[in-house]
């Protein structure tokens, strides 16, 4: 059986390769601290396998996370110019030489991922599934990355894996600490949940609510989902809290709302919040780094004029369709 853990170990290996190459890059003003950052991150991935399996304690990993947060937070994660790439003029010449071939590896990524996601769960060998159940798409994305790399090296006559690793290192250094921020936010979500932040917010949401009128209740549920999602960075964390405080007791039981409509539109109101928050780092902060946008809020600013009217539309849709 192909296990998702293999690909997590591969990511760990990739980070270790980044560390090994960063530590030799004398143009990096903080090369020791930077290499330590990537090396610790690399080690965290295989170690996490044992934490998930329950065979190793979680606290050493928590400590490691604090160390890398301190390295990044004190400005010691630097980037050198050691990972060079081709110049624009060279790229224009290469584009003429290879033509449309360069698209093939990029398009192989969605094709392979889609094949794994759709057909993967159906394949079993000797009664055992080929892919670890429930992880088919993550495995598909990992496999597609490897397949695309092999295709690219073959079609573009790039025999050395080192060239691809250097390019990968350059992009990873560009993203910098934003590459782990989504995991730190997931971790914060767990602490919030353990400490009872959700329950406290749910109590305040039901406290501000006047009883007996439908529209304010719909407003508090939809806007509450959006606001709580902005805080938590994740609509899935907001949903149980707001549904327990407002959605189920008031909208479904009190006003007799159509349950699937109330819950579906409530969740989508939360997604409007996801469009507006830096806490949803993988959607809103990682692309800032990937696309060299300078302002951390560039993607959020592009999304706000969609998110706000869409949230209003959700209120109207729920009010009109669910009751």
């Amino acid at each position: 059986m192909i296990r998702v853990e293999w690909f997590y170990w591969l990511i760990g290996l990739f980070f270790l390769a980044v560390a090994a190459s960063v530590v030799r890059d004398r143009t990096n003003p903080h090369r020791t601290a930077s290499a330590l950052f990537w090396a610790l991150l690399g080690l965290s991935f295989p170690y996490s396998s044992f934490v998930v399996a329950g065979t190793a304690p979680g606290w050493p990993l928590g400590l490691l996370v604090i160390v890398i947060a301190v390295i990044a937070g004190t400005g010691r994660l630097g980037q050198g110019s050691g990972a060079g790439t081709t110049t624009p003029a060279e790229r224009t010449r290469l584009a003429e030489r290879f033509g449309g071939k360069v698209f093939v590896p990029v398009l192989a990524i969605p094709v392979v991922t889609a094949l794994f996601a759709t057909l993967g769960p159906k394949i079993s060998i000797g009664g055992r599934p080929l892919l670890q159940p429930l992880s088919e798409t993550v495995i598909g994305l990992g496999v597609s990355a490897v397949v695309a790399l092999v295709l690219a090296m073959w079609m573009l006559r790039s025999r050395s894996l080192g060239v691809a690793l250097t390019e990968g290192r350059r992009l990873t250094e560009n993203i910098g600490w934003a590459s782990v921020l989504p995991q730190l936010l997931a971790m914060l979500g767990l602490v919030f949940a353990t400490a009872g932040v959700g329950k406290a917010i749910g109590r305040s949401a039901s406290a501000v609510l006047p009883g007996g009128v439908l529209l304010p209740a719909v407003l508090v549920y939809c806007v509450g989902m959006a606001v709580f999602t902005v805080i938590m960075g994740n609509a899935f964390a907001a949903f149980p809290v707001l549904t327990a405080a407002v959605g189920y007791p008031l909208l479904v039981q009190g006003f007799g709302g159509n349950a699937p409509a109330v819950f579906a539109i409530g969740m989508l109101s939360g997604y409007c919040g996801t469009l507006c928050t830096p806490m949803a780092a993988n959607y809103n902060i990682v692309p800032v780094a990937l696309l060299d946008l300078r302002s951390d809020y560039a993607v959020i600013r592009a999304q706000l004029p969609t998110a706000v009217p869409l949230l209003a539309a959700n209120v109207v849709l729920m009010y009109a369709l669910a009751f």
Partner: protein, 237 residues
């Protein structure tokens, strides 16, 4: 209610634009202590949360191949391709991608798009190239605005498409939470169908805004005056 101070740390930290890694770590420690957890329990929660969310990082595996094809002229080739398709404008590229992203997510193919695997190598350079074709070299601020909008089409398409697919996280989370907590028996298909009206509104709003980008770009290019740079408008990343 004291635990809400942890939320305050996050809000203030982001408002002051402090480093997000530090803000999140401090907020976690503060919330944990105020919630009555011991240091050991907080560190355990940190570790478990970090380990349990590794799937977010799998996109990093595509970076070597994206870097390799970019090294060999992928973005230049995207520009040449767009140059040959006369009717494609920036707005139409973005709107078309929004539609494709939303439809594929609605049939369950959420992970075929994304910022690393499609926006950076394909959508953003094509959208930029369509503007360059029309206006010549772009001011850097206009290029960045187009790229930011390309990222937003990926997010909007993904969020408001995926909820239509029955076998995906959001729908299953709703049904499993509601069914176990309130002893209802919701059908996933019903929940998914009620996501359709919002999906249509999202497509209309963001699709119209995508098409409108053409006019925004034209206005900003005019406002910036004649180009000062003599190169081909390519952005070195």
């Amino acid at each position: 209610m004291l635990v809400l101070l942890g939320v305050l740390v996050v809000v203030v930290g982001f408002a002051l634009r402090l480093n997000a890694m530090l803000v999140v770590t401090v907020a976690g420690l503060v919330t944990g202590f105020l919630g009555g957890l011991s240091l050991r329990e907080i560190l355990d929660a940190f570790g478990t949360g970090f380990a349990g969310s590794r799937s977010i990082a799998v996109f990093l595996l595509v970076l070597p191949v994206i870097g390799l094809v970019e090294r060999n002229g992928l973005q230049e080739q995207s520009r040449r391709l767009i140059g040959r398709l006369a009717r494609l404008t920036t707005g139409r590229v973005l709107a078309a991608y929004l539609l494709v992203r939303q439809v594929t997510a609605a049939v369950g193919l959420l992970s075929i798009g994304g910022h690393a695997q499609s926006v950076r190598p394909l959508v953003a350079p094509m959208a930029e190239a369509a503007a360059v074709k029309r206006h010549g070299p772009l001011p850097e601020a206009v290029s960045r605005r187009i790229r930011a909008f390309a990222a937003s089409t990926d997010n909007v398409g993904a969020f408001f498409g995926e909820d239509i697919f029955v076998a995906v996280g959001a729908v299953l989370l709703i049904t499993s939470f509601v069914d176990t907590t309130y002893h209802l028996t919701l059908r996933p298909l019903d929940v998914a169908l009620w996501a359709v009206p919002t999906a249509v509104v999202a497509l209309l709003i963001h699709g119209a805004r995508s098409l409108h980008v053409d006019r925004v770009v034209a206005r900003e290019v005019r406002a910036a005056g004649p180009p000062v740079r003599a190169d081909d408008g390519a952005v070195e990343r």
